[in-house]
């Protein structure tokens, strides 16, 4: 259990001695150059307290009244010099000497003003260091929210008719746990064999699972809270990927051995969060566009229709189109071993879609699926996303987005 002393941070002049480690590396760096910095540290402590409420981890935050009592008992304050081997994660000052960290910063084309201490902090998973002032739990909550915000606004503005199931799957494909772990490995992140204060700070620090040990209960797939989980519940109450249960909070994984995938994804999220704090939203948006949206994802491959012909006729009835009719466009080798039929689906005189198959039925189904995809994957020209107007005074560039009434309900 770690103790955080608010008083020693908020009023450094009154604090009797230095803490075991500087409480915020960036603020500590500022402390050496700029004298008044109290507001910064207090802001950090607000986030730290929020983390404490979130997770099940109990952190005692001493109030100033407590503090005056406890300063008298020297046994409670182990503030003597601690060797790196006894620290759970590397000292923030080690980060400036790390060549791995500066290489990583250059590899991701981040500006020099992004501090290496923060980059080092994003690499510390709560399983390695349970102290929320030194691990990446708070940053990864912020970064995870930013990633899901930018992804979902991109999907919803550019594909307004996309069914909710596909929106969930596409969000997971861009910023889901597996995608983030792959992104981290493509950035050249290596993991430390065992976390500790003496370890190179450029390595991912997390407590590894022992051989034969299953993944922790918090990360295991759980039975849903009730069996008929509705779409609304999945949109509102759980995560951005439409899971049945809410994911574990980062701080709840403190001191729990986790798989590397979990630690790697928390690093990517925390990096995005710390970029937002240090460099601002415009740079994060550019970073997101170049590192996440630039990845290839074919949305038309993500549809799995059960009954496309029925869905299509319901869609035509809903939208007031004429009832769809399947017509044979072309065929070859009807009596041979490999016949090919080309079937088009028409609504009145308009061709909605076309499909090829080895039987008339297959071709008709493929044509109906193609027609549905043509409807669902409609993409308005030059859509503007809400985040592009953040902080803009001139809002004439804003175009209201199209909102569709949703997928077909059969």
């Amino acid at each position: 259990m770690k103790r955080i002393r608010i008083s020693s941070c908020a009023t450094p002049s009154l604090a009797p001695s230095a803490a075991r480690r500087p409480l915020c590396p960036y603020a500590a760096a500022l402390h050496r150059t700029i004298a008044p910095h109290n507001h910064r540290i207090q802001a950090r402590f607000q986030t730290t307290a929020a983390v404490e409420e979130f997770g099940g981890q109990k952190i005692e935050i001493e109030t100033p009244a407590f503090k005056t009592e406890k300063t008298r008992s020297p046994s409670r304050r182990p503030h003597r010099h601690v060797t790196p081997e006894h620290m759970p994660s590397p000292h923030p000052y080690e980060a400036n000497q790390s060549i791995k960290l500066s290489a990583l910063r250059a590899r991701l084309s981040l500006p020099q003003r992004f501090p290496l201490q923060t980059l080092a902090r994003t690499l510390v998973h709560p399983s390695a260091d349970p102290d929320p002032a030194f691990n990446n739990a708070s940053l990864s909550i912020l970064g995870g929210n930013l990633l899901s915000y930018y992804t979902s606004e991109h999907l919803l503005c550019n594909y307004p008719r996309l069914p909710m199931e596909v929106v969930f799957a596409a969000t997971e494909a861009y910023v889901g746990p597996r995608a983030l772990a792959i992104v981290a490995s493509e950035w050249g992140i290596e993991a430390a064999a065992e976390p500790g204060g003496e370890v190179e700070p450029g390595l991912l620090q997390f407590k590894r699972l022992k051989p034969g040990e299953g993944i922790p209960a918090a990360l295991r797939k759980q039975v849903p809270w009730k069996w008929n989980v509705t779409q609304t519940h999945r949109i509102v109450a759980t995560d951005e990927f439409g899971s049945h249960n809410a994911p574990p909070t980062p701080q709840s994984l403190a001191n729990v051995p986790v798989p590397m995938e979990e630690a790697a994804q928390s690093f990517v999220r925390a990096l995005v969060g710390s970029l937002h704090l240090h460099l601002g939203a415009p740079l994060v948006k550019r970073f997101f566009k170049s590192h996440f949206l630039s990845r290839h994802l074919d949305l038309s491959d993500m549809f799995d229709f059960r009954t496309p012909t029925r869905d299509l006729s319901r869609l035509c009835a809903r939208e007031g189109f004429e009832a769809p009719v399947a017509r044979l466009i072309s065929e070859t080798g009807r009596l041979s071993r490999h016949p090919v039929f080309i079937v088009g689906i028409y609504s009145g005189k308009d061709k909605l879609g076309e499909g090829a198959g080895a039987s008339l039925e297959e071709a008709r189904f493929r044509a109906a699926a193609a027609s549905l995809k043509a409807w669902y994957l409609y993409r308005p020209l030059d859509a503007t996303v809400p985040s592009s107007m953040e902080g803009e005074l001139d809002t004439t560039k804003w175009k209201p987005n199209m909102i569709d009434c949703g997928e077909v309900i059969v």
């Binding site: 991701l108 494909a173 493509e186 990845r295 290839h296 994802l297 993500m302 065929e331 997928e407 309900i409």
Partner: protein
Amino acid sequence: MPLSAIQKVATAQNGVGAFILPCKRITLRYCDWAGSSKGMNAYLKTQLGFFAKRNPQIEIQVYKKANDHPAITAYYLNGHQRSVNVKNMAPEEIKEKLELLRNSSPEKNKRVPAKPVTSINENVRGIWSPFHGAKIKI
């Protein structure tokens, strides 16, 4: 449910948005006694700093191994590595080898197959189909 989604993961296209150099680390091995390291030692003293400054995204490690030929090993993002023995080489040759390793792909050397180039992007003109268009009667 009339419609369900197929889970996928978006695939990387290095260079489409951000470009990340595949080479992440280069180690240079030298010996301060043997003659085969003469060029390597000169390179380390005079030119390695410029290379490191030009390539901040590469982590550079230099280490001494006595009684051994000098060598350069490059480590890549996908976990592969390539090594070059640079014994008796002049600093200029070592520089070339270093550039070669920096610019190399981490994949194994293989013949470029004589296959047509495939693309994930949709063809602008569409693909010719024998089933569409004017019917030709023979």
